[in-house]
Symmetry: C2
Subunit: 160 residues, 2 copies
DNA sequence: GCCGATTTAGTTGTGCGCAATTGAATTGTG
DNA sequence: CACAATTCAATTGCGCACAACTAAATCGGC
């Protein structure tokens, strides 16, 4: 990025800043998110889970069993993403998917015993991630708060 | 999320917190990143660009022309992602890709006149995004600083 | 009770993002 | 100079994430 420091200011002033890569907050967000992704991939390798699959298991460990719809709400994923993902988790013997007797459109996802046992091994994961992130707790809290706010704002703007 | 507030604390204490979805900083990051993605998709629709393509154009508007390798470094994307992406941008007539005469392994990416003209229409995009994000400048700065730090830490941990 | 409107999960199609691999070009070493 | 090591972009394969669409089930209004 040394090259970038030498970049002369464009005479257009404010407009030039607006379109500089490093001014795009979303780029920083994206870069951080993907950097986390890399560290998670290493940490989750032994569990045989991808990061999105790990998130699914987190929710199921927490809730026990959930309809796909609610799983999607918790994870902010639609059925286009979840359906094949759950299919692979089921193929791996970690969850079962069953039609709800109360509403046959609904499918309940339940961890198998094997899927529940995986939780023990998963305890090391957040510790590794926190260590890699290297931020004090206060900063993590501030980060999470800012992220939550901006996500809520973006959701509101998208719904408008 | 009202259901979540009723979730009794597990007797395991700290361990239970570690694996709660809402405690995963990366989930907040991911959710925010994807929420941005949605707003960008709307904002970029008229330009006919996806968000990653828009980032590529940002860099090229800034630099004029770059080898794929440097483009990848700026955007933190590997050639597996960039190669097809640039191929589509070239097919859309927005960039050209040429082998460097100095090193034939290297490919220089240059915006076409049409690609350069697109910059004018792109000026509205960051404004729309900033409005949708709804954070004061101070908070945006704090957010970017935190993200930069955590990304650097994660990179260091990944390289270890 | 009937039927239109809505909901739910699943499918199709597209564009990513990453790991592994490949072929050609360049670099580095003896 | 010869050749091993490294570099660069492109390709292959896989798992996501989203938009659009589908079929079946359920809801709501008359």
């Amino acid at each position: 990025m040394t090259r970038h420091g030498e970049n002369p200011r464009s005479p257009r002033g404010e407009d030039a800043d607006l379109l500089l890569l490093d001014q795009q907050i979303c780029f920083s967000l994206n870069a951080a998110s993907r950097a986390f992704g890399g560290v998670y991939r290493t940490a989750l390798k032994d569990l045989g889970l991808t990061y999105p699959q790990y998130l699914v298991m987190l929710v199921l460990w927490e809730e026990g069993a959930l309809p796909v719809k609610q799983l999607g709400e918790r994870l902010r994923l639609d059925s286009g993403t979840l359906s094949p993902l759950l299919k692979r988790l089921e193929a791996a013997g970690l969850v079962v998917r069953e039609r709800s007797p109360e509403d046959e459109r609904s499918v309940i996802v339940t961890p198998t015993p094997a899927g529940r046992e995986l939780r023990e091994g998963a305890l090391a994961v957040p510790r590794r991630i926190l260590a890699a992130a290297g931020l004090p707790l206060d900063d993590l809290r501030a980060l999470r708060e800012l992220l939550t706010r901006v996500t809520a704002n973006l959701d509101a703007a998208a719904g408008a």
